[in-house]
Amino acid sequence: MKSLTVPAKVDQLDIVTEFINEELEKQDCPMKAQMQIAIAVEEIFVNIAHYAYKPKDGDATILCEIGGDPLAITIQFLDNGKPYNPLQKEDPDTTLSAEEREIGGLGIFMVKKSMDSIDYQYVEGKNILTIKKNL
């Protein structure tokens, strides 16, 4: 597994995205899946950057592996921040009008919809969120 550790800050997003893209570019991955993976990475990493260590600072580690049959990408996000399971967040009501809409929860909702599996664990003081997408 390839590994990247960065400060859990929004300004590190490009570095995280680039790290995943480098792995994906070795595969013949359709545009749509590429964007879905990039969105998932952004939503999860930004969530960690915004909330995990607030108001302090800390690191996030991202692990990435492509393999298996059927071929799939597995990405793990680890942080030592407050225990937080984003999967418990209630799905937003996507039928409301613009005026009634609130934006919270849309990011993780998109991740749930586009990945083939998503799993949360809290182990030894670490939040571990694992997403998997068949390529």
Binding site: L13, K32, I39, L106
Partner: protein, 100 residues
């Protein structure tokens, strides 16, 4: 990885924002500022032909823009590519936005 925004005016009350690049957590504030600065318009168009990425941070700004234009006119999106359309579809934004 950045976002470029160009304005194209059609008269005094209609403007098209031509977006190129990525609308993500890092770049969405740029578009938000641009939209806040627009005053007295009745038609806001956004050309997405060269926009190749959109996350929930981008959706948030589009929602703000839509709410603003609901009060004073209309907002229309053009040339939305298939992958971004998929995002609008999954999130129900397809029903909120006017896409041509």
């Amino acid at each position: 990885m950045a976002l470029t925004i160009n304005r194209s005016w059609a008269g005094e009350k209609e403007v098209t924002l031509i977006l190129e690049g990525r609308l993500d957590t890092t770049t969405a504030p740029q578009l938000e500022k641009e939209i806040q600065e627009l005053d007295g318009i009745t038609c806001l168009k956004m050309d997405f032909e060269k926009l190749d990425y959109l996350s929930s941070a981008g959706l948030r700004v589009l929602l703000l823009a839509q709410k603003k234009m609901n009060r004073c006119g209309e907002m229309i999106l053009n040339h939305v590519n298939e992958t971004i359309m998929e995002v609008f579809d999954v999130t129900g934004f397809i029903d909120i936005l006017t896409i041509e």
